[in-house]
């Protein structure tokens, strides 16, 4: 079946720049953002936050604040604990850090919420909050990744400051001989700064308890359905019927993937107080106390043969998770997606997340984007070292369509990617030779031009492999008035889903775009989906509406054929009119057909359902790949270090383009954020754990003067999904940073390499390269400041008693998988040095045999089928009634195991 050729209507809405349906209300001040909600009896919340990064709460004096007129309540964790809450990740797995809604006896970062003040107005709540006196016995904080390695424990009950760990140090020894045999070995190190996602509307929540049975929540989110499911789960499925509404949201970018501590606290407080409550985050809170992103330290070494062909690579990745991450994260996706677009025979890695006393890690557009930044900047460095053109180096290594199917080093099947084709299209559109000539001439005049090119692929539209990543449902109907209504679980924080979905429906149904109304942004309509997360809505909701509109058109045709005594094949729908081939006098409007379908069942075909409705839930392929190649040209001022972007061309393949205006808007927005990351944005911390960019005067957001005009090339190779779309929401923010860094590095090449990339590339850091000395003070800071403030804690030598009592019997065991910890019961039976037994989890039980016991060490293997065929290799060390070790999980690297005797 050719799913792309079947077009019902004559008007090609798909591919056209239809004006956005959202704009009418947003341009005239009639949007409905969370702060626009006002309810009778509603009170306002302000949080009291920690000014210390780490320490014990000695006292909280609330007397003066409580006495203020207009203050209704002040809650601390002792009060909120009346409602049990177990925070979860986006993947609906438990948060491992002991996170509570408000600080529970200790604070672990500046901005940690300690108390919530509830008052008649926001101003009064803020006044009262300033009167709450908190005494904290301050301790020296752990701020950087380097601190985390040697400093005290961020969470005293844990073994170390490693929040998550995958991969295997052992692979370093396996890869090293391969690197030793390479003609060229190139290394790079990137320190990516901490980013504040900074949607223009901060976080916001209104919770309204309606009697004992209902709770309505308005919240800044990326999916009302996901927010509703998350709130229900962390509250242990409360008795209230929970409805979440989010009509307009002022940007999300991953920050609003899940409700976090403050929003859940609003809901819990509303339950306790029985009043509607509102919390609107201010910008100071948004910058310093909303979850942050990135903050990584990555080293990559890659070997090439004499002709520049990739041979082997090894990567050491570390990510600062802060104190309370929205999910402990070693960012395994960085490694999964670093090489599938390239022919690389061997890859090894170790990847870790670290707890520190800083604000927690959250998601940000393309959370795994480091794979493209570190790979593409290293490739350009390699091209200069080997003496080969960077485009040619990529040509020799990219996986072109003719190379597919291909399987990546880590086992990811690649069947449908076009990074090489995007690159060829890009290169054909620019005159590289002319630029190089101009570059040479310019250098003679002391002007430094640079060109950067990068290629990448991106997994989009994921469904079916992770709990929250699902299909999409659309309920579509033609009203008795003839107008078309779609009920969707999509969500737009600027994505324009009401627009793009209406275009698909109008085209496939054969009606005017203006006659389609799309309702979304409410958990009471549609069905579960994660909304805007993982570049998925155009792909999956687009496919759902595409098919549902065809189903509804088929239904109209059956009714019309019956009424006209014609064959179904003779019926066409165009412009809202239903035509019968060869009988123009029998043309009816959709309204006439609808009135009959709803009101005169006797005139319908026998057995036909009344009304004109269709519902379809689309489950797409597990993953749909998007590819792109970008080119950027810059001029670097050698006197000031200032970077001016001259030109930027995007050559992307996002399959079927529903609305070029919307697609280009997504790319441009991502690229602006990329420019911010490379040149401007930074949320540094001082040695005491204070965030240093608490206003927009300190945290530099890209302005109109920082962003050039972007040019676009669309390849539009249809994907395997219904409609052929590919996701495009995150791409600009992934491929943008390496494209710009490569252009700057090219411009600076007469002066030398950017040996270690420390972002952002401020003018001072650019001058470091130009003048060959530490003008910015970055080196001095990195080498001097890392652990100066931290008392080193030596590892405690633990005596090693024999495995008293043997290992036979049941053990409660936890396996830390990339999707969160998995709890299971392990049973061991020993017979001399032979070990057998089983692992039992809620999903089922699996036996193993052939294991070995050597001293206190047990090794055994187990083959599993889900989520994919891999062999798990356990290596455990027993110590009395506890055990620990690791489990090698094929391409997913190693996961930590811990357990206690049951």
């Amino acid at each position: 079946m050719n799913i792309h050729a079947k077009s019902v209507g004559a008007v090609r809405y798909v591919g056209s720049r239809q004006p956005r349906k959202e704009d009418g209300r947003l341009l005239t001040g009639r949007g409905q953002f969370t702060d626009d909600i006002r309810l009778p009896g509603m009170l306002h919340i302000a949080y009291v936050r920690s000014a210390a990064a780490r320490g014990r709460i000695v006292s909280i004096d609330m007397d003066a604040a409580r006495e203020m007129p207009g203050v209704h309540a002040i809650y601390t964790q002792a009060d909120l604990a009346a409602v049990p809450v177990a925070m979860q990740t986006f993947f609906f797995t438990p948060i491992e850090a002991p996170v509570t809604l408000l600080a529970d006896g200790r604070v672990a970062c500046v901005g940690d919420p300690i108390a919530m003040v509830i008052a008649d107005s926001r101003a009064l709540a803020e006044d009262a909050a300033s009167l709450v006196e908190v005494v904290i016995e301050e301790e020296t904080p752990v701020v950087t990744i380097a601190d985390a390695k040697t400093g005290p424990l961020v969470h005293p009950d844990r073994d170390d400051n490693i929040s998550a760990e995958m991969g295997d140090e052992d692979t370093r020894e396996a890869i090293q001989p391969l690197l030793d045999g390479c003609a060229h070995v190139v290394s790079t190190r990137i320190r990516h700064q901490r980013i504040a996602q900074s949607p223009m509307e901060g976080r916001a929540c209104v919770a309204s308890p309606e009697g004992a049975g209902e709770m309505t929540v308005w919240i800044g989110c990326q999916s009302p359905h996901l927010a509703a499911r998350y709130i229900a789960l962390v509250l242990g499925l409360p008795a209230e019927a929970l409805r979440v509404i989010a009509k307009d949201v002022g940007g999300g970018f991953g920050l609003k993937n899940i409700p976090w501590r403050e929003e859940v606290a609003v809901i819990v407080a509303a339950k306790l107080l029985g009043r509607p409550l509102k919390w609107i985050e201010d910008r100071f809170e948004a910058l310093t106390a909303s979850s942050h992103a990135r903050d990584q330290d990555v080293s990559l070494t890659v070997g090439f043969d004499g002709e520049g062909h990739l041979q082997a690579a090894w990567c050491d990745y570390a990510c600062n998770n802060g104190a309370w991450p929205m999910g402990e994260d070693a960012n395994i996706a960085v490694h999964m997606f670093m090489w599938p677009a390239y022919k690389l025979p061997a890859y090894g890695f170790v990847t870790r997340g670290w707890y520190t006393n800083t604000m927690g890690l959250g998601a940000y557009r393309g959370p795994w984007a480091m794979e493209s930044l570190v790979r593409e900047t290293l490739l350009d460095k390699a091209a200069r070292k080997i003496g080969i053109d960077p485009v040619e180096l990529r040509r020799r290594n990219l996986v072109y369509l003719t190379d597919q199917p291909h399987t990546s080093t880590l086992g990811i099947p690649v069947t449908d990617i076009t990074p090489g084709e995007c690159l060829e299209k890009l290169v054909a559109s620019i005159d590289l030779a002319a630029f190089r000539k101009e570059q040479v001439e310019a250098r003679k005049q002391g002007r430094y031009l640079g060109i950067g090119i990068a290629t990448y692929i991106e997994p989009t539209g994921a469904a079916g492999s992770m709990a929250p990543m699902t299909g999409e449902t659309v309920h579509l109907r033609i009203e008795p008035t003839g107008k078309v209504v779609a009920m969707l679980s999509t969500h737009s924080q600027g994505h324009g889903t009401a627009t793009t979905m209406a275009q698909v429906i109008a085209q496939q149904l054969g009606v005017a775009y203006e006659d389609v109304a799309v309702y979304e942004g409410d958990s009471a309509i549609g069905a579960f989906s994660p909304g805007a997360a993982g570049s998925r809505q155009g792909v999956i909701a687009g496919g759902a509406t595409w098919r549902a509109a065809e189903m509804l058109a088929d239904k109209v045709k059956v009714v019309a054929a019956h009424l006209s005594n014609a064959s179904v094949e003779a019926i066409t729908i165009q412009g809202g009119m239903v035509h019968v081939a060869g009988a123009p006098e029998m043309t009816r409007s959709l309204r006439e057909i609808a009135e009959i379908a709803y009101g005169e069942p006797g005139r319908l075909p026998e057995g036909a359902a009344t009304g004109l409705e269709a519902q379809y839930r689309y489950q797409p392929p597990p993953m749909t790949m998007t590819s792109a190649a970008h080119c950027c040209m810059v001029e670097v001022d050698a006197e000031t270090g200032f970077v001016k972007i001259l030109r930027w061309i995007s050559s992307e393949d996002c399959g079927t383009v529903i609305n070029p205006g919307v697609v280009e808007g997504q790319i441009a927005g991502g690229l602006a954020q990329a420019i911010g990351q490379v040149l401007l944005e930074d949320m540094p911390y001082d040695a005491r754990g204070n965030p240093l960019a608490p206003t927009f005067k300190d945290y530099l957001m890209p302005a109109i003067s920082d962003v050039p005009d972007f040019e676009y090339l669309h390849a539009s190779t249809p994907s395997q999904t219904i409609g052929g779309m590919r996701g495009v929401g995150e791409g600009g923010c992934i491929i943008g940073p390496p494209t710009l860094v490569n252009a700057i590095a090219d411009a600076l090449s007469p002066f030398g390499e950017i040996e270690e990339l420390v972002l952002p590339l401020t003018p001072a850091r650019v001058l470091d390269v130009i003048e060959g000395r530490d003008i910015s003070g970055t080196r001095a800071h990195l080498e001097g400041g890392a652990s100066a403030a931290v008392e080193a804690v030596l590892p405690v030598e633990v005596a090693a008693p024999a495995a008293a009592g043997g290992i036979d019997g049941d053990w409660n065991m936890i396996l830390k998988t990339p999707m969160g910890p998995q709890v299971m019961v392990a049973h061991f039976d020993t017979d001399g040095s032979a070990v057998s037994g089983y692992l039992e989890a809620p999903e089922g039980r699996q036996d193993f045999a052939g294991g070995t016991l050597s001293g206190r060490q047990v090794k055994f293997e187990m083959k599993v089928e889900k989520p994919m065929k891999i062999t798990l290799k356990y290596d455990l060390l027993f110590d009395g009634d506890s055990m620990s070790g690791k489990c090698k999980m094929g391409m997913f690297g190693s996961a930590k195991v811990s357990g206690e005797r049951a």
Partner: protein
């Protein structure tokens, strides 16, 4: 807190109210009068989302106190379009050019563009484009990368010459 009686017009409608001295114009417009089209995004005068016109001049309503608008004529984004719903040229230009996505910064962007096009009425296309672009450097948009805003500026510059 001291309270003051103020009178002003908003989008041509007369309002009188008692306000605390510390209440910002933006908060007053939103909370007391219900003009929720004005958005407060940074509340420290950098992002421009809260911009309204006071006596024809673009002002950051987070930095101006309500009492300072006493006797003034305020125009918010709700007051830009014609009573029959016809969009103001800046609104139309933003719509035509995908100049907005989430729409949170948009009210301030539209107000500033309206004020600047009015100040430059009759000027040449180059001057209008320059003035609008310069004014836009005082507005932060996190969604669009300013592409549609820049196209809207060119459309406005072309349309008014």
């Amino acid at each position: 807190m001291s309270e003051h009686r103020i009178e002003l017009t908003v989008n041509g409608h007369r309002h009188a109210a008692l306000v605390e001295a510390r209440t910002s114009l933006g908060e007053f417009l939103r909370e007391e009068l219900g003009y929720t089209g004005t958005h407060l995004a940074c509340e420290h005068g950098v992002c421009g989302a809260c911009t309204v016109m006071v006596d024809g001049v673009a002002m950051r309503s987070c930095l101006m106190l309500a009492v300072q608008a006493n006797g003034g004529a305020v125009t918010t984004v709700e007051g830009l379009a014609e009573p029959d719903g016809t969009l103001h040229p800046v609104q139309q230009a933003l719509k035509d050019n995908f100049g907005l996505q989430c729409g949170f910064c948009t009210p301030g962007v539209a107000i500033t563009m309206a004020a600047v096009t009015r100040e430059n009425e009759g000027a040449g296309a180059g001057q209008i484009e320059k003035a609008l672009t310069a004014a836009m450097s005082g507005h932060i948009c996190r969604c669009t990368g300013y592409q549609g805003i820049r196209r809207a500026i060119r459309q406005l510059a072309g349309a008014t010459t």
